[in-house]
Symmetry: C2
Subunit: 654 residues, 2 copies
Amino acid sequence: MRLAQALFAPRAVALIGASGDPGKNTARPQRYLRKHGYAGRIVPINATRDEVLGERAYRRLADVPGEIDHAFIMVEDVEAALEDCARKGVAVASIYANGFADAGVAGAEREKRLAERARALGVRLLGPNSMGVIDLPGRLALTVNAVLEADALPAGRTSLVSQSGTMLGTLLSRGAARGLGYAKLISVGNEADLGVGELVELLVDDAATRVIALFLETVRDAERLARAARSAHAAGKAIVAYKLGRSALGVELARSHTGALAGSDAALDAFFRDCGIVRVDMLESLIEIPPLLAGRQPRVLGRTPKVAVVTTTGGGAAAVVDRLGLHGIELAGMHDLTMAGNAQGYRATLEQLLASADCDAVLAAVGSSAQFHPEFAVEPIVSARRTEKPLVAFLTPHAEESLQVLAGQGVPAFRTPEACADALAAFFAWRAPREFGDGARTDSLIWQMRVPDLVRAPSPNWFAVLAALGIPVVEQAIVQAPGFVHAVPYPVALKRLGVAHKTEQGGVALDIRDAAELAQHARRMGDERLLVQRMEHGLAEAIVGYRDDPVVGPLVLVGAGGTLAELYQDVAVALAPVSEAEALAMIERVKGLAIVRGYRNLPRGDVAALARAVAALSRLALVPGRPLREAEANPVIVKREGVVAVDALMALKE
Amino acid sequence: MRLAQALFAPRAVALIGASGDPGKNTARPQRYLRKHGYAGRIVPINATRDEVLGERAYRRLADVPGEIDHAFIMVEDVEAALEDCARKGVAVASIYANGFADAGVAGAEREKRLAERARALGVRLLGPNSMGVIDLPGRLALTVNAVLEADALPAGRTSLVSQSGTMLGTLLSRGAARGLGYAKLISVGNEADLGVGELVELLVDDAATRVIALFLETVRDAERLARAARSAHAAGKAIVAYKLGRSALGVELARSHTGALAGSDAALDAFFRDCGIVRVDMLESLIEIPPLLAGRQPRVLGRTPKVAVVTTTGGGAAAVVDRLGLHGIELAGMHDLTMAGNAQGYRATLEQLLASADCDAVLAAVGSSAQFHPEFAVEPIVSARRTEKPLVAFLTPHAEESLQVLAGQGVPAFRTPEACADALAAFFAWRAPREFGDGARTDSLIWQMRVPDLVRAPSPNWFAVLAALGIPVVEQAIVQAPGFVHAVPYPVALKRLGVAHKTEQGGVALDIRDAAELAQHARRMGDERLLVQRMEHGLAEAIVGYRDDPVVGPLVLVGAGGTLAELYQDVAVALAPVSEAEALAMIERVKGLAIVRGYRNLPRGDVAALARAVAALSRLALVPGRPLREAEANPVIVKREGVVAVDALMALKE
């Protein structure tokens, strides 16, 4: 409790390095705290002055009488300032300076030392490279962010944790322009100590916060954030994230396909989904979605979501509906009304739809009246009796005033058709955090002991690992020159050992009918030892993969097999382990596996067996020590009955 | 010339059905014309009054002294008003009334009669269901659109043709709020007479128009629009379109795969691209892109476009760059500068990048200074020496004033990272209109005569049509029970005749090794007549299709073959005919065909032969009378050398 208070509601703040030149960034916190009416004590610390911007200043923190809860360190010598803070009993220090993990290897080392020292001293750190903390209802503007130049900023019940200091200002500024206010805003900087996860924990306990918004560039503390997300869900608070890096190419040169397919953004997508964190795709959705999430719980519809539309502007409504269609959301009906002289009827239609079982959300699209008659235009929307079902508004013209009226009444309203559709799609994709572990408990635990031994063998047999996990593997044998003798029934396949991308390298021969043919192929391949496998035919090929992601931890992946599927990046990813039911739901999301789910008149494959294999591989997440970095069964042949893995590839952690 | 003048710059307008109640929609044109300073003569026509809103009114158009160039018909009895207009020698009548093609079959009939009568009378029509015409520099506000309630609207050099009357107001209103003005704005309504194509022609000739923006729900006059687009290109004027209906499910139950794959939006996409029309994906891009297009020509880079970024806000720039990456655009470098005290350096960096050969556009991302110091923040951007290379701005905070300064100086500026990336992507995808016909001229024209006979045969042989076009077809024969005799060398495939989706129906047997095996399969299939084909093996399967689209005309399609490709909708579509070079460029756009273009160590397929087949099928567009609705070679086997079509399906027009 002391942490939250020192961070968000300090009774006294020290501004270490406060400048007397009002044009300087380092003068801002003092100016902003005063401007926005901070009620606590402000203590500028300046090495050469006894007065700063008309207020009593001190040369050293040690000279300050009384207690200081929170220090904002704006000097270069952060290390010395930290020692001063510790001596003074300061609970939290926010650090503006950069030159730490943001500045190469030496900076990262410096940051590590700083964090260790702070831990030893018992001082909590925000930053370094943080723009500070804002609490609008509490009138705390302990920040260098220029957005505080604004005379008044609306307070709201959304709190923001941002890895970008400048974007914190952007979101605050854009929200304010249309009446969407914030409660607390925290610029986390490099997260040397206080990270996104812990801040979310604090916000879960914060009575002023109803929705938690995250602007992310990466995730540094996935485990803690995952726990915090579960607490948020339990407390009835929604979390929504906008994350950069969706298009970043996977830089890691992955040895297996799984590495490339479960690229970092897909991994984070799985992470957000499985943690119950709503993910938006557009910047303004992050600002506009909170009223849609506030007070609502994620729910599973079990069918395609349907949105009913009430509109005075056909074209404007169509712009949203068209976009909803791209997200796979259906139209439940379009009601074209004129607002003029018919506010009653308009409201009645809204209420009727909100009460109806035929749609899952109601969209009111308002035309030019929103610009010229704000109160009148949005009155029926604002006054409609609310239900659990969302009622959202899209205003087609430039209509800031109408947007403000709607924001003031807590009605989710959107400035662009794209953000409106993005937010509704994110809302419908929202799921409660997944509970883990059930899949493992129902299963024998023998493999948990066997797998570590198998993978640590001098030259491990990856097929044996699959088999130990409970995944059917093809009947096979290793053959030796010159006889290439084996007992696998013909027809067989012959493969070179330890060669990646065998097919493209001429390292595979299929449909070998007899020993003579086998010998011929074996001689061509030229190796002393080769792998013979029973020739398997099925209805489709799948890839089943596992990856211990450095950011979000163990993941499991299923996709359509073969080169085409790789080209289309057609895979579903989830945090591991998954149960068989969860694996089935993943398989449903893979387009290319439609061919075994009952497509046209194609025969159905054993999707349940595939799901068992996915769940089985995902249990690598439960192996003590998690020795594997990646594991892959590829292809897995999906048959009418059963599946069988015909190739396996794994990589140990370095 | 008379048409453009009567439409946009009438010396006198008659308002037929003008209301004396200023609250009514039908009073608006008179109010707006006065409010916005129309200099011509305004003549209200009202059946019961001699004065309307303080101006001399007439009971009947016939009573009006002097000439009337343009009448705005707001009465229900449009037909009678049209006769009055004709008698009065009115050149253009804009019709507000709806109840025509917008209202079912009877309405469509009424519209047809109205258009025919207008043609006979020599009166040109805008509408019905039109909200009228606006010419901002000319101060003509002949419209019922409430956006004209605004006191002042900025004039610009972008003209808008809109199929949605309300969205015309939306675009005008949103543009005005940030200083992006328009020249002419036309609400085309149902296009009974004057259509989008003809209006674009008028705007190509309009000296006040530099960029033509289209808000489309459909395309009703593809051929004329295509011609107009070519004229616009020749005149150095860009056309940009936003079109609804991207997500509409193809309603037509197409007999072939091509019908479904070349769904109407893909067809329009091909149409826009091949006509040199820029297509934007987001509503605000339509407003914001014109300064990016004005005075520029489409060009082919021949490599991935690269954008250099100069920024004062890392997070804001990253939001755009991330999105650009999703569009396949690369970052040429990120220059993180502070604006403070360094406007000179900022401008120098911009100018250096604009002159550099290492990037194709420069993006300036501006942070909070754009909100609080507009002139200062955008000064270096506005004053940087312009080159051919685009310089665009993205402002992260709410910064309407800065946006207005940029708009005033013609600098493309964007309010959201998504619209910024969308516009840049659309700009880089922009191509000059394609020239047609070369592909045909280089080829023998014999097939032009043979194909009509072949397709009109009592039971046409689609393989023969393919062969006539110059597409290699598999060696084959029709066999008869009970002997099933043929001369095709084994191994062969056996197929049932006239069955769609044969594979899924058990209507195909592959790799038949001898006559005995053949007879066995033939008996199982049970038909009297069956098709035997030489068994072909290749590196990949492709689909090559043709479709005479009811909206945009003949299209050609190429995609990866097989069920998977169908699931992924992985096809490239272009207006037909295409040359071999154009077909090659289409093949490049198909992800799944990467496997024959040189992927990893996979052997290369004969992509040139596939391109020849695509170009050949596309020549169906040149067959006199265009008897075919759809044609498809699927699969086409792509071999190391050559391609071969092993199935063909065609459908005649009804």
